[in-house]
């Protein structure tokens, strides 16, 4: 029975020789680039990252995002951006970039203890 596994959502997948997937295995074929999709769920909310998709260009990416990520009326506005165009902080920078605020607990509302009987807080 060792040639079966239940990992992955639909279970019972045969194991057996599989080729490893190496990072950056993108082929020489001219496949569509990856876009990240951000959706504003309703007015008053920020655009939130919901996932990604492949599209040949920005226009088609917006179309595909509309079809894929808002087909249940999830959003009122969509942003797409090429994944390659995102500049991110490196996880290694985490300490120098983010720890300075770690001690400024007074910026966080939970710092302030308010008695429960104070309304509208």
């Amino acid at each position: 029975m060792s040639d079966l596994t239940a990992e992955g959502g639909h279970g019972a997948v045969p194991t057996g020789p599989e080729v490893p997937v190496e990072p950056g295995a993108a082929t020489t074929r001219r496949d569509w680039p990856l876009y990240e999709v951000f959706v504003r769920g309703k007015r008053g909310l920020n655009h939130v990252h919901v996932g990604s998709l492949h599209a040949p260009d920005e226009e088609m990416a917006v179309h595909a995002a509309r079809d894929l990520y808002t087909r249940r009326n999830e959003g009122v506005s969509i942003w797409v951006v090429r994944a390659a165009d995102i500049t991110a902080s490196s996880p290694d920078e985490k300490d120098p970039m983010f720890t300075p605020s770690g001690d400024k607990v007074y910026r966080h509302p939970t710092f302030y203890e308010i008695p429960e009987n104070v309304p509208h807080m």
Partner: protein
């Protein structure tokens, strides 16, 4: 971009320590975090298999799209098969955050170098199969998938939240179809029972081998990318499903199925794995057909993908 240099670059054991601590604290690992190579490879394999299963899983029910027996059922089924394309897409996206490439994963599926869930190699013989797939196969998938919403890998967990929300509609539409058919003609009722007879055992097999024969599970549990054992999930599924079968008025094809009064759980018969082995080893009724369809989709329409790429290059910055 030049990152501010750290005074002391972290060595591997420190990184491993930080990774272990993140998992231990129940926090999520995110794409740009350091992670052990084994974790990354296991996740890519798991997520890719899951994605492949969604995409291949469109076909058994998709075979009934053009022939759905009412316009309402046609719309429901179309929305469902479309969701499965979406699920595959969310999951491939999660795999891509680990450095995999969707086109490359698709090639590996088509070249049979990566696998998908064997359940989708069974044929759908009648329209009752559409309902039973929703009820049993999607029901079993939900049992497998709900814990994955807490996967230690952030993008996978987030994809699974969306998948699980949508799957619940899939299971309900299946059960509702069966309930409707059970109030229909005698022929329809027989169709439902026949479909249940064919899909019950394969559904139980979806949970994978018994725990004592599942060697890779321990590491996946430790990594937080598997949350419950195969047998535990299988038992949970049986306990959920038996009362549903009673309401529906169908008989599950297992004479040993009985409620254990002491534990409140259902005992069930031994699973005949040889049948599943046959399907897995490529002798399943539909293996070739399923792969051939995906191959045709890829190869016959390569010119479309290329055309859009060429157009984008021509009109870039215009």
């Amino acid at each position: 971009m030049s990152a501010p240099a750290l005074d002391r670059p972290l060595d591997e054991s420190a990184l491993q320590g930080r990774f272990d601590a993140t998992i231990a604290a129940g926090h999520r690992i995110e794409p740009r975090d350091w992670m052990p190579e084994g974790y990354r490879k296991t996740l890519v394999r798991q997520i890719a298999q899951h994605a492949h299963s969604e995409i291949i899983g469109m076909q058994p029910e998709g075979d009934w799209l053009l022939a759905a027996p009412s316009l309402r059922r046609k719309a429901v089924l179309l929305a469902k098969v479309q969701d499965e394309a979406g699920h595959g897409l969310y999951l491939y996206s999660a795999a891509e955050t680990l450095g995999a490439d969707r086109a490359d994963l698709t090639d590996k599926l088509i070249e049979r170098r990566q696998k998908y869930s064997s359940i989708f190699n069974y044929p759908t013989l009648t329209y009752a199969d559409v309902g039973v797939i929703g009820w049993l196969v999607d029901g079993a998938a939900i049992c497998n998938q709900v814990p994955l919403c807490r996967s230690s890998y952030g993008p996978y967990a987030r994809a699974m939240i969306r998948v699980c929300k949508e799957e619940s509609f899939h299971q309900r539409q299946g059960y509702e179809l069966l309930m409707t058919m059970m109030t229909g003609t005698a022929e329809q009722q027989a169709m439902v029972q026949d479909a249940v007879d064919r899909w019950w055992w394969p559904s139980l097999m979806m949970f994978g081998p018994p725990d004592d024969e599942s060697p890779n599970s321990a590491q996946s549990m430790a990594w937080g990318i598997k949350r419950h054992s195969n047998d535990e999930l299988r038992q949970r599924f049986v306990d959920m499903t038996v009362p549903q079968a009673e309401v529906l008025g169908v008989t599950l094809p297992d004479p040993e199925l009985a409620l254990d009064r002491d534990t409140g759980r259902y005992r069930f018969g031994a699973i005949d794995w040889s049948e599943l082995q046959r399907v897995i080893s490529g002798q399943g009724p539909c293996n070739d057909e399923r792969i051939a369809r995906r191959r045709a989709a890829r190869d016959d329409n390569a010119w479309v993908t290329e055309a859009a790429t060429a157009y984008a290059e021509k009109h870039a910055g215009v």
